[in-house]
């Protein structure tokens, strides 16, 4: 196990965005955070990354509690739909990631090739399309050196071919031991790509495990027929 989260809660006024969220992240796995829009996926990632304060809950790794200050050494979070350093070129942003965010320079060319960033290197971030920007954000994440990489909606804004290429690139990094924790609202995408899942609905964890484990949980929960379809399992558990 790489780390575990226990009893994480976050409220925005009267709204409980996260309620007593607990789950485990195993080293080297591709873990999918599944849930509809508004389920609290981005909030959960931001709380884990320490860029949003949580109201309660702990994160533990190696038998000890990981405070906000230790998190940058354990995980890196790539938010969805941001345009950081908009005036700078893609090349500058990748080099900045290596320099300032202590990224791995050895992976620079590989990541550029995997994400097809070569044609974009001279372009400034502000002029990129949503899909292009997403690829650059993924590039930033893949260059960082933390053991766990949290990516919010990695396939959002990508066409089918790009999504498949990027899934292959992410899998290649996972094979080498990088732990990927991906928030995905398209359940079919998640089912194809992830090893295990955390199902989140209205800020609560409804289930955690492989498709088979979740299917068994769904049977126990609702008495429905066993199904290997993640969408059916999700609907049964939420």
């Amino acid at each position: 196990m790489l780390f575990e989260v226990n009893g994480l809660s976050k409220r925005f006024g009267q709204i409980a965005a996260l309620a007593d969220v607990s789950f485990q992240v195993r080293a080297g796995e591709v873990l999918g955070l599944i849930g509809p829009n508004g389920a609290g996926k981005s909030t959960l990632f931001e709380c884990l990354a320490g860029v949003l304060p949580s109201d309660s809950g702990t994160m533990r790794a190696g038998g000890r509690t990981i405070g906000a200050r230790q998190r940058p050494s354990l995980l890196f979070y790539v938010p969805d739909d941001i345009a950081p350093w908009a005036a700078q070129s893609v090349r500058w942003v990748l080099d900045f990631t290596i320099g300032f965010l202590r990224g791995r320079a050895a992976l620079r060319e590989e990541v550029i090739a995997q994400l097809d960033l070569h044609p974009l290197l001279q372009q400034s971030i502000g002029t990129l399309s949503k899909g292009q920007r997403k690829r650059v954000l993924l590039g930033i994440g893949l260059l960082t050196s933390q053991p766990a990489l949290l990516i919010d909606e990695p396939f959002e804004g990508l066409d089918l071919r790009q999504a498949r290429d990027i899934a292959a690139a992410l899998r290649a990094h996972a094979v080498r031991g990088r732990t990927l924790f991906l928030s995905i609202h398209q359940i079919s995408d998640a089912a194809r790509f992830c090893d295990r899942f955390v199902l989140l609905s209205s800020g609560r964890v409804c289930g955690e495990g492989t498709i088979q484990e979740l299917a068994a949980l769904a049977v126990a929960h609702s008495g429905s027929r066993p199904s290997a379809d993640l969408e059916e399992v999700f609907l049964a558990l939420t």
Partner: protein, 416 residues
């Protein structure tokens, strides 16, 4: 845009100041009466560097807000925060970059000094260092304020509105200080505009400098606190209140400091050295009660030409202004209005004279100290110079904006 605009801004001020200086110099400006007016500090440098004051109020805040709030707006802050660098180190780094940029923006003003020298003008380094330091401090105040507002608010435009509102607020304090007197007048003495005015006269006051530094540190501290998006809001509020209390205490303590230095060549903030020596012989605390309204021109005369200089030599001086109205117009017939009472160890005397010479004469007579003889050599005669601002237009309106444009293009290319 800031760098581009600084050339023309400085150019307008410098060319106009040199023209006026030349006109005054042509009118036999070497006479003792107008000597002070022919000090390059007051005649050329204060107006030339005032372009920096203008830029610090209307341009620099937006640059600072863009640098600090832009990261939050674009989402870059969420990535940068995960680097592990402390927010205090981040804001310090950004401030240093902004201050370096500000020094570059001041280059047109520095080039004006070289131009003036090439015209044969006199340059007195200490007063120029003071003036430059004052404008750097003023820029620091702007950066501190803009950084704090950028971190406190969600949107850069809100930060800009708040920053300008606070700046306008300090102008209102200045206005109230001039009209109401009392505590308003005291507070107005520490506003950025008043601080810059002191530096423009070559005066360095320890309390003003330290208060400016405290305010800068407070602004940057608040900015750093609110940059930590991962810290609970209530904790950030408590910490901000803590910083505010600490700053208020420090500012209050600073107001008791009286050390100051007159770096102007004309000694425009000081009595003559002989008078200062004579005044230092008086160790008994002096109390002055002036029955003059805040807007009465005689009060301004008394304050600027006599009491502000007297405070520097006699730190234990107590001054109390008494008036029933702000303009004093309808108090003229009141008994006692216009009277200035001097009290030195129980010996009291009254005078209505508001000139420096009159005030000194009264104090000497009350203290039983012989007035020092006037030394002709000690009188500042000014540096008249009737020349045209040759080449200034080309440099400030052509060369400087061109340089900035070319540098911007080259910098953009090298970043790619």
């Amino acid at each position: 845009m800031l760098l581009f605009g600084m050339g023309p801004l400085v150019g307008v001020s410098f060319i106009s100041a040199v023209r006026t200086y030349a006109e005054v110099s042509g009118l036999n400006g070497t006479a003792a009466g107008v000597g002070e007016a022919l000090s390059p500090l007051a005649g050329v440098w204060a107006p030339t560097f005032s372009a920096c004051e203008l830029a610090a109020v209307f341009l620099l805040p937006f640059v600072a807000i863009r640098l600090v709030a832009g990261d939050r707006q674009s989402g870059a802050l969420k990535l940068e925060l995960q680097q592990g660098m402390s927010s205090f180190a981040r804001i310090t780094a950004k401030t240093l970059v902004l201050l370096a940029g500000w020094l570059v923006a001041m280059l047109p003003s520095f080039s004006a000094i070289l131009l003036w020298k090439s015209y044969g003008g006199s340059v007195y380094t200490p007063e120029l260092v003071t003036l430059t330091g004052g404008h750097v401090l003023n820029a620091g105040l702007t950066i501190g304020l803009a950084a704090a507002m950028s971190s406190l608010t969600e949107h850069p435009s809100t930060a800009a509105i708040l920053t300008l509102s606070i700046t306008v607020g300090t102008w209102i304090v200045n206005f109230f200080g001039a009209v109401q007197g009392g505590w308003w007048e005291r507070a107005a003495g520490y506003t950025p505009a008043a601080m810059v005015a002191e530096f423009q006269h070559g005066l360095v006051r320890l309390d003003t400098v330290l208060i400016a530094l405290v305010l800068i540190m407070t602004g940057l501290g608040v900015a750093a606190l609110w940059m930590r998006l991962g810290v609970a809001v209530h904790r950030r509020v408590y910490e901000s209140i803590g910083i505010g209390v600490l700053a208020a205490g420090s500012i209050f303590a600073c107001t008791f400091l009286t050390a100051s230095w007159d770096t102007s060549e004309s000694r425009s903030n000081s009595f003559s050295e002989a008078d200062e020596r004579a005044l230092r012989q008086i160790h008994t605390p002096l109390r002055i009660e002036a029955h003059l309204a805040p807007e009465d021109p005689r009060r301004l005369d008394l304050e600027h030409h006599a009491l502000s200089k007297l405070r520097r030599v006699m730190p234990k001086l107590q001054v109390q202004y008494v008036s029933a109205t702000s303009i004093g117009l309808f108090e003229q017939t009141s008994a006692g209005y216009g009277e200035i009472w001097y009290d030195l160890a129980g010996r009291r005397t009254m005078s209505r004279v508001t000139t420096a010479e009159g005030v000194l004469e009264t104090i000497y007579s009350l203290a039983g100290v012989a007035p020092p003889p006037e030394v002709e050599d000690a009188i500042f005669r000014g540096h008249p110079l009737a020349v045209a601002s040759k080449g200034a237009g080309t440099i400030f309106y052509g060369v400087w904006p061109g340089l900035i444009l070319v540098s911007a293009i080259l910098a953009r290319r090298s970043f790619r």
